[in-house]
């Protein structure tokens, strides 16, 4: 794997730090006029998702991390693992439920999502920004209410619970923003 100097650090670059794959978020060059140059770097640990700050002497270098984001199709859940497939090669990957984490509540069979691979093994899963899912359970709406005003919880086919306006009914398909978990609109057939 390539080696990167602090001079090449920029947002998005994937590097190895303390044996974990990480992504650079921000790289600030800090240099007193008459002193040593440092780079103060904000880094996300891609395994734990935690953000840390670390200082390097300018010119120091770190090994790159073989991390790539790949569009895959979600196939099914066998209880222990979630299974994904590359749409062009049909190559399949299985991913521990722990790594899928919160993304699992937006994953519907056959939907596309982004799987992050580290050394060709899944590291994390990111759902697409907007998903369309059916409501399997919600209280009946109040007659005459056509606007938001408060809303009510609705359970979706993947198990996620989102707040929806009172007029939205069980069985309807809705569009949700997976980054915020917010209801966007009803989806008309």
């Amino acid at each position: 794997m390539a080696v990167y100097s602090t001079n090449e650090f920029k947002a998005g670059l994937k590097i190895m730090l303390d044996n974990d794959p990480c992504a650079i978020i921000e790289n600030e060059f800090v240099k007193p006029g008459k002193g040593q140059a440092f780079n103060r770097v904000k880094i996300r640990n891609l395994k734990t998702d935690r953000v840390i700050e670390r200082t390097f002497k300018s010119g120091e270098s770190l090994e790159g991390a073989d991390v790539v984001d790949v569009e895959m199709q979600y196939l099914y859940n066998d209880g222990d693992f979630r299974h994904f497939m590359m749409p062009d090669t049909f190559e399949q990957y299985q991913c521990d439920q722990k790594l899928v984490g919160d993304a699992s509540k937006w994953l519907k069979d056959q939907d596309m999502c982004t799987v992050t691979l580290w050394n060709d093994a899944p590291l994390s899963v990111t759902p697409i920004n907007f998903v369309e899912l059916a409501i399997v359970e919600t209280d009946p709406g109040v007659r005459g209410d056509t606007s938001g005003g408060g809303g009510k919880p609705a359970k979706l086919e993947t198990g996620a619970v989102v707040r929806v306006p009172l007029f939205v009914q069980q069985g309807e398909v809705i569009k949700v923003d997976t980054r915020t978990g917010e209801y966007i609109s009803r989806v008309k057939d």
């Binding site: 001079n7 600030e28 060059f29 800090v30 240099k31 007193p32 006029g33 008459k34 002193g35 040593q36 140059a37 440092f38 103060r40 700050e53 670390r54 200082t55 390097f56 002497k57 300018s58």
Partner: protein, 326 residues
């Protein structure tokens, strides 16, 4: 069509720069300080181990020479002082290789001035007055602050910068959640001072005010005089506003022998650090031997000053074509 032909600055930033330059020139005109120009391209350059220069080839076959773009106009201006110019100032470009970031551009604008007969205290008064004058139309700054390096160090970290204790320094970094400092600085006192100052102190200096920090440790200053009462510190001042370093000044070293030995120490340090070789400025040494008048001098980064006046977050908001568009 590519759009990186455009300046990164708003047109208002061009006006700000023009107005500030005009204001600076009036300031010095009124004080009878002479504007001068010195070469940007020279046969010698600064020896500071922390600064890298750009070099260029002079080519008039069969003559080939390596020339250096100046990291500051200091040496040439001191030659003018030794020749009897009296107090002088210059607004020029300076070049520092490898320095690029939010607060750094490898080519930048510098204001440098020397006051014959001034002490460091006189110079600090004038720096505060100059910044008050140029900033008045744009920002109302609070009263200038002055502290010794030792005092700010103790205030923010509880550490004594003049007495090196690796355990105490490292415990401080550890407590501030930066354990990597120990690995990085090891037992290098100067490196520790740079680390601690730039991470734990500087960001808090001069909140909406000019903060002048004087009395830098002797191990950190190549061209300043040692303080007569306390030879552990030098007659050096740094200028900060909103945590941004704006400039550096000295009560100038005029002893040619002392200067020569500091040059030699720096050249040795450069070799140790594997930095490119430099050519010592023998003409400066000759000028110092002839006699530099008692004087104090300071350099202020104009681009950073413009950042502070316009509350910008990045030099690209005040430099129309920064490095990546130059």
């Amino acid at each position: 069509m590519r759009d990186d032909w455009q300046p990164t600055t708003a047109i208002s930033a061009l006006r700000l720069r023009a107005n500030v330059l005009d204001c600076l020139r009036r300031f010095f005109w009124a004080r009878d300080v002479l504007e001068v120009e010195t070469p940007l391209l020279g046969h010698a350059c600064g020896t500071d181990a922390q600064l890298d220069f750009f070099s260029a080839q002079y080519c008039a076959p069969p003559i080939q020479e390596t020339l250096f773009l100046q990291t500051s106009p200091e040496f040439a201006m001191k030659r003018l002082l030794a020749a009897g110019s009296g107090s002088i100032y210059q607004i020029c470009k300076a070049f520092r290789n490898g320095e690029s970031g939010r607060y750094h551009n490898p080519e930048f604008t510098m204001l440098e001035w020397y006051r014959v007969g001034f002490t460091l205290t006189d110079l600090m008064d004038e720096i505060a007055e100059l910044i008050r004058t140029v900033s008045a139309p744009y920002r109302t700054l609070e009263a200038p602050q002055r502290s010794s390096y030792q005092d700010v160090f103790v205030q923010y970290t509880g550490l004594d910068p003049l007495v090196f204790c690796v355990e105490a320094y490292s415990a401080c970094a550890q407590a501030k959640n930066q354990p990597e400092a120990l690995n990085l600085c090891g037992d290098d006192h100067v490196l520790w001072l740079d680390y601690i100052f730039s991470h734990f102190i500087q960001p808090f200096l001069g909140v909406n005010a000019v903060c002048l920090v004087y009395g830098y440790p002797a191990c950190q200053s190549s061209l300043a005089r040692l303080n007569l009462q306390n030879p552990l510190v030098t007659e050096r001042v740094e200028v900060f506003i909103d945590g941004i370093e704006l400039g550096n000044g000295y009560y100038e070293l005029s002893d040619a022998q002392e200067q020569k030995s500091r040059f030699e120490a720096e050249i040795a340090e450069r070799q140790l650090k594997d930095r490119p070789d430099v050519v010592m400025d023998e003409r400066l040494l000759a000028a110092l031997e002839t006699g530099l008048p008692e004087c104090a001098g300071v350099a202020i980064g104009i681009d950073r000053l413009l950042m502070v006046l316009s509350a910008s977050k990045n030099l690209s908001e005040v430099i129309n074509f920064p490095f990546d568009r130059a």
